[in-house]
Symmetry: D2
Subunit: 341 residues, 4 copies
Amino acid sequence: MLKVSVVGVTGYAGEVLIDLLLGHPQVRITDLSSRSIVKPKKISEIYPQFGGRLDLLCAPLDFKRIAASSDLVFLALPHTVSLQIVPKLLKAKKKVIDLSADYRLKNVKVYKDFYGARHTDKRNLKYSVYGLPELYRNKIKSAKLLANPGCYPTGAILALAPLAALNKIDPESVIIDAKSGVTGAGRKPADGLQFCEVNEDFRAYKVNVHQHSPEINQVLSRLAVKKLKVTFVPHLLPLNRGILQTIYVNKAQSAKRKAQNIVELYKKFYKNEPFVRIKPQGQFPRLKDVVGTNYCDIGIQDFGSRIIIISAIDNLLKGASGQAVQNMNIMYKFPETMGLI
Amino acid sequence: MLKVSVVGVTGYAGEVLIDLLLGHPQVRITDLSSRSIVKPKKISEIYPQFGGRLDLLCAPLDFKRIAASSDLVFLALPHTVSLQIVPKLLKAKKKVIDLSADYRLKNVKVYKDFYGARHTDKRNLKYSVYGLPELYRNKIKSAKLLANPGCYPTGAILALAPLAALNKIDPESVIIDAKSGVTGAGRKPADGLQFCEVNEDFRAYKVNVHQHSPEINQVLSRLAVKKLKVTFVPHLLPLNRGILQTIYVNKAQSAKRKAQNIVELYKKFYKNEPFVRIKPQGQFPRLKDVVGTNYCDIGIQDFGSRIIIISAIDNLLKGASGQAVQNMNIMYKFPETMGLI
Amino acid sequence: MLKVSVVGVTGYAGEVLIDLLLGHPQVRITDLSSRSIVKPKKISEIYPQFGGRLDLLCAPLDFKRIAASSDLVFLALPHTVSLQIVPKLLKAKKKVIDLSADYRLKNVKVYKDFYGARHTDKRNLKYSVYGLPELYRNKIKSAKLLANPGCYPTGAILALAPLAALNKIDPESVIIDAKSGVTGAGRKPADGLQFCEVNEDFRAYKVNVHQHSPEINQVLSRLAVKKLKVTFVPHLLPLNRGILQTIYVNKAQSAKRKAQNIVELYKKFYKNEPFVRIKPQGQFPRLKDVVGTNYCDIGIQDFGSRIIIISAIDNLLKGASGQAVQNMNIMYKFPETMGLI
Amino acid sequence: MLKVSVVGVTGYAGEVLIDLLLGHPQVRITDLSSRSIVKPKKISEIYPQFGGRLDLLCAPLDFKRIAASSDLVFLALPHTVSLQIVPKLLKAKKKVIDLSADYRLKNVKVYKDFYGARHTDKRNLKYSVYGLPELYRNKIKSAKLLANPGCYPTGAILALAPLAALNKIDPESVIIDAKSGVTGAGRKPADGLQFCEVNEDFRAYKVNVHQHSPEINQVLSRLAVKKLKVTFVPHLLPLNRGILQTIYVNKAQSAKRKAQNIVELYKKFYKNEPFVRIKPQGQFPRLKDVVGTNYCDIGIQDFGSRIIIISAIDNLLKGASGQAVQNMNIMYKFPETMGLI
């Protein structure tokens, strides 16, 4: 049994991660911690839903205790906090799956621009592996520090990867109109996220300046081997879980000339992927079909010079904790879908 | 034109009050203020929905400015804050409609038990009028300090008043199972009121210890001329506005003997009331029919020894700001429904 | 007092229309009817919220009775049904405000393609006036048959009109990502609109084939004096009321050259409009600010070669019944905001 | 591997049942059928969420095919339909878990009064076992025809069983104020269950005449060995899943005399139950903690002469399909929590 610990259990990602790890036949949770905990507290007092299932304390974050008790550490911490603990964990020969953004962006200047903080661990940043299994499975197998992708980037990149990799899109034309449930914003109290401020409302936020844009650009540009800069507008849906992204691209000149069945192209690109499902021609995904699962559903339609792609994921599963477990499965040679289907 | 001011505009009651007063043909809003405002700010910056309708500043709370500019002052402040400003306003010969609980409970010991603070203005408390027009219209006409009823008490008392006044209920048998939308909890950020903590959830809170119980008991006991103590359990509904209360009472011994059409009894009791609607036999109200209105809808059915009564109101209208305007109409001899239908 | 009747009261638009007309000081509702009513029924039995406010029967649709009792007839009927009654009403010298799509599209072939029915009243179609006051106020003044705009087109056209009229956009680049509350789909029971099929879900529908696309194209092409064909993808939001549309356009070559303050340009374009509000630079509208009002809020931002515009309306007010009343006000020389603010 | 089939897969209970059975290590789904299916259809076309997980056809209901392929048959059919198929299945020596109400009420007159149909299978009714494991585990072990409890009765009976069994309640005093999510009403389109008719609304229905009352009375009366008749008022919550019931009882005279820790009494009563969790003194359950699980959470508080009990379950799990799997586990000697935790 693999010994794992979760740091940062009071957020939604931490909560879902515990639930998944509890159901995983090859792991044992050995430590739960949180920065906001002052003295140890039963996890079932924090989350009554774990009553009867898990009898473990949640303790203050203590590097030594965590390192002593576990082989693999999941970090579900706010951005910039991981930077302080990752170097120590790696030094202690622990493997780390980091759910924050701290080790995703390879360019520290871009990191600073979007997260407002200087990157203090360039050494480990160099070796971090971006944990999107559909694109980087081989690297993930031997990763020591895994940067688990952001929720929006997961859905957006999977939706665009086939076209980007085959150079079929005009790199200036990509528009991503994203809509996310409220768990995407985290659990801490905020004026704008009170029930009555979100319920029966709908709004865009961080219009074209969201911190996930550079992550999308970084991965797609690498795939396309040319600079790609998306227009990205996220919106807040009055519901708990799920991200649906409606994506508009113009075909590259070369792609306009020859007709091609785009749906078949996607099916082929993802034919061995256990967690990507391509909708039949003329159908598009909805949140209901993916919420509660680790799937990414994708629908595509060719409208002549423009292609519309819609992808849907559960932001806390394929967009966070589910993908983290999928990555763990790959890193430890467990069946990739173990504990997830 | 009556000059009115609203103190405490950043809460939901204040917001709805401004909206109602804007549509009232006999009043002019002369001052808007809030304790949380540091320097004057356009009201349309706080509430974009008032853009194009109201071009007024919201200023810090300043007793003198308010007294100088208005004849009537609405206080939409948290409990205990009104105690500090009411004496000054009354001294300056202003009339006050207080939406807080500070001048509702005549017994200061009970006030302290339920609101956790000593009552510091017993002198004015003695003269405050409880603003439930259906029971106290005459007193309201000449009120100088009006204590606007709580949201739960409004729906509960209107549902029980006919039976209490006619002494038809066993005073120990009253059970009020109340359900409220989230605006009832006010606007300030709180962990338990974040969108994802309320959406797709339902829970009871303050089980049989809610501060509105003594208010209900005070009014019903006075009506029944005997001590009445209700069991009161409020619950939080995942919706913005509305309170529905399901009430169970056993008949008094005397009432059991003679058959009587309870629906007709209610219709008669409320026959001249513009804002109480009694449902036909066998029908019960729903929130949808009252939200956005100042009505209280009531359904009653006689099940032998037990009677079930269901009442529904909009907690921000008949349960707060709508009733405040109704009270103003009565105090100033405007038609009672003016600005409300 | 203007005598008005509403045909088709059992839908959401009919319901809201009654509410608005009841609050309008210059009209009297003289007749309510519905095709689904077999024998006359009190309107307060259909809609309990009108209890105490309106004591009128809702009767089966009877052309003669309606014509005899009213000067102006509002038709809130499903598409193709208006075609049968409009000719008769016009012949009887009644004015008509039609909320259906039957008299909006001037090209009957396009009508057939999108609504699946042959247009049987080309004669009157020729004279119908498209009721978007911000663009066609003068024609509306003398309209006898007014085609009230669709909900999506209202928000989309108002968002794009300034750029289209000034020829600042690449006509092939317009992408409208639209999101609507569920009242937009009408009231009739449908599998896909049951509560549990919509709640906690989000999905696109009629991707780029929605019947409102040609309406948007018709109006914008006329404005731009060149053919404009939008990509239009509507989505279903899990909420009752409101439409928010996020619109992406590339600038026309000519517009790229000279810098211009787009927000100011919009403010100027709409400076006399009582129901269009332009957000300050860097701000975007949300549903909450317009739901329950007749406003269209618009936010715009210039991102270099691409402009993003977001508009928000209440689909049942500015997107249907509110706009119908606004049009009535213009047709009968009432103040344009009467009964609406 | 146990071969199981599900009849009636198009309802919510059927859908959830498939999901649970797919995750159960000891069963294999061999047949899926529905009365509303005319020709066989892939289950993933009906429920896209099963895409990639289950590649099985859903076929029209055919008794012979079902009997031939399976050892155990789950019936998730509307009331009265089970009566037609159960006798045949039992004759063919198949075991049956019936999720409908057809074999729950032992008194056929009461069945007729509440379900409006004559009971046509009294012979098998006599042998049916009421599948509430916490009360009837021993009988369930050898059941051939298991009547799976109703959703409301499950939560209500578990909340009241300790007090009823120990004769601590006044049998005329029990009031159950129940609130259910919308999946409880089934999936078929109905006017009153359209999204906009439920969202932002709350209402009572079938006030004190709901068909689940006699089921609750039957079980509790048997436990208390005296006639018990509850007052039962269900309400419709604007959310998908979950039932919370707030229950008020007066103590029996005998129970008033001696003080007793009620929470401890409940903990003792349920101490070996894997799916009942008793809240600590002063705490009450909420839906969030049980939705998605097979738990029933119960909070109790003693208020002198009156006791308040609140129970919460997921209506589709402990209230239907989860409990059906729990019953299967008991019938086939699998660990009781298998596939459920």
